[in-house]
Symmetry: none
């Protein structure tokens, strides 16, 4: 069923609040086979809300709203929806009773503006709100359905899961399954080119490629009668995707590269240490976002100064002088020294130019050398990222370190 999500609240238009309600509802609806066509956001303004209701119902049969159900004067959602549906507002005595009981329970002073929360369109089906004071409601007319929920995410989520979702599931004709195939070491256009035979003329499952933070992925989606059928179709297509670009795939289950790497290290008890210069602890910090990594992560050394490189890792003064700190030779000595010091099974080092300024003509910002030592073998990889800014350069360097480490242990 074609669906629109309409979030109501001036605080969203002011940018004070990020619209997480729309994201939550979208994902939920997607999973139960509803097609979300639009998100709309409007302030607490009846005229503009009414306009958007008209627009939303032009090509959608279901509209979910959040926000604007509270007792204060600027919350006029209910009245506006009521008017749009040609209904009239009436007091629901059971809600008034529930509200008065609530107030008694908390010891707060009852003020009559709370009574507005007992009024609803006369034909509304109410949606209980055990976590707040504003019930939601469902209204239907000529095949058009609106379901209104409160704005606070905690109240909205529990109302959706307990009362909205079961109703919607009882009305769907299909179930959707999607999986996200994540890759490393391949750009978006190269990924799309490789998958073009699958993308061209696709019907179901569909494939879409996209990029996020320097990493490219493909989303495979199917809609079938049952979730099981949809999942089987998706799994088959994921298999085909892997047969085309399998070398670049690290997860078919939307995991982060660092999670996948961390799991492999933990499961195989591969101890790891790292010596960082330009990334300055970002690799260690990123790796340690994985819960349980303490079982294998031994040590990180941020050897920013030349003195630190010499003292902590035994990098030789001659090497620093002859080749400078940003060189494959120094990356090599860093990782060798780290391995000798820690004995970790996997050791990484990095030295480079974080930027934003170039170090010299032949040492531009974004240049880095990554040393890796695993199973007694040492290799050094050169990385040239496009100089964007200091932190972006560093993030790309860390991503490359994760990729190289993953390549070794996968």
């Amino acid at each position: 069923m074609k669906t629109a999500i309409l979030t109501i609240g001036t605080e969203i238009l002011f940018g004070q609040v990020v619209n997480t309600n729309a994201a939550f509802l979208s994902e939920q609806l997607q999973n139960i086979g509803y097609d979300v066509m639009y998100h709309y956001t409007v302030g607490d303004n009846p005229g503009r809300l009414e306009k958007l209701l008209g627009i939303a119902f032009e090509d959608c049969d279901l509209v979910l709203t959040t926000g604007g159900l509270g007792p204060t004067q600027d919350d006029l959602t209910k009245e506006t929806i009521c008017k749009y549906f040609g209904d009239e507002m009436v007091k629901f005595p059971e809600v008034e009773e529930w509200l008065r009981d609530l107030w008694k329970g908390t010891g707060m002073t009852w003020t009559d503006n709370n009574l507005t929360q007992a009024y609803f369109p006369s034909t509304a089906e109410l949606l209980p709100n055990p976590r707040g004071t504003a019930p939601g409601f469902r209204l239907e007319k000529n095949g058009k359905v609106i379901m209104s929920m409160p704005g606070p995410p905690r109240e909205m989520k529990s109302m959706f899961l307990d009362y909205v979702k079961p109703y919607l599931e009882s009305r769907t004709d299909g179930r959707i399954c999607y999986k996200i195939v994540r890759t490393y070491g391949i750009g978006e256009s190269a990924l799309e080119t490789a998958l073009l035979p699958l993308i061209d003329g696709q019907t179901d499952p569909t494939i879409a490629t996209y990029c996020k933070e320097g990493e490219c992925m493909a989303r495979v989606t199917s809609k079938r009668k049952t979730y099981e059928e949809a999942e089987a179709a998706v799994d088959e297509m994921v298999g085909t995707v892997k047969s085309l670009v399998g070398d670049y795939v690290f997860s078919c289950d939307d995991e982060e590269l660092v999670e996948v790497l961390g799991k492999i290290l933990i499961e195989n008890n591969i101890t790891i240490s790292v010596a960082e210069s330009c990334t300055a602890g970002m690799f260690a910090s990123t790796l340690c976002s994985v819960s349980g990594i303490s079982a294998v992560f031994d040590r990180g050394l941020v050897t920013y100064s030349e003195d630190a490189k010499k003292k902590e890792l035994g990098v030789r003064a001659e090497t620093l002088e002859k080749y400078t700190a940003v060189s494959p030779e120094v990356a090599y000595e860093m990782v060798a020294g780290l391995a000798a010091k820690t004995g970790s099974r996997l050791c990484l080092s990095i030295t480079g130019v974080a930027g934003p300024d170039d170090l010299s003509e032949d040492k531009p910002a974004g240049l880095a050398y990554i040393g890796l030592r695993y199973k007694g073998e040492v290799k050094v990889v050169e990385l040239r990222t496009r100089n964007v800014d200091r932190n972006n350069n560093r993030r790309k360097m860390v991503l490359r370190m994760l990729s190289e480490a993953y390549s070794l242990v996968k």
Copy 2:
């Protein structure tokens, strides 16, 4: 000027991505005096996009779009906007040249679908995108203005700040000045209470307090005929704010705490080293986001294992055994050992429970001990953050380390 924000991307309608772009743009527009009336979101679908363009321009004169500018087939924003404005797509040779140069620089293989990124409506003013491969553009007709930016937040933000905002500021009737007074060590309600005499009955300048990522700030805004008048009014009010809560203020110019700290360290040549356990390099990495910090940052040690704490920092086995790794005693020995090893003027250490699980009943997730050594004196601070999740806990710990370091050197 009445403004609508139109975000384009199926991933938003799928709920895979929270629409932070709309929040960022809303806040920015608000600050420079534009009224955001609506947010619209639509997938990569030309028909529906065209419909929304029509709706948005019904009562808005300015529409900002994000997303859908990439090289892949589902990115059709430009063509649709071009059609809506009655223009035609032409190749911009300078963009093609720039793109081909970019590809040469990175060594990636050029594929011809990248060429679509060189096509724009013939009357478009281009908006450079130094952080990505898809330039944005501005198009105007009959007093209606559209400005299209890429979807990745990093690219969009820098394009907005560098090219969109200056243009919009040049078109407003009044001039707005706002400054953000940033504080540490004070909660939002305490900050609001302290500023209440100023907030009550305010007209211009206005003051609003808000909290983000565990840090509270006050925005002081004025709209006057000239920027200079607005700035003078804001500066006067900022002075009043400082007279009330000055002890907590670290910047009146919207700087990050880490920037302010980094500058002080560099200017005063205060060398710094850090030994991290639970934050695992996040402090070092955060501090090293400051350009030029290499002049004073000597060394970071991520001593995750007990063995590393002993070998790198000389923490005694007895101390670890008697008090456990998460204890003020270990934080003390860590920072003392670090100072002895590096001789840095400012040394920090941290040991704690990153979470998400508690270590034990009396060592809950979010508990940390921070050791500081400066001018020969050592102190240990206890921090108990509310356990949200592993990375959130770690970020709060780093923020506290920055605060404590700032308190010592300010």
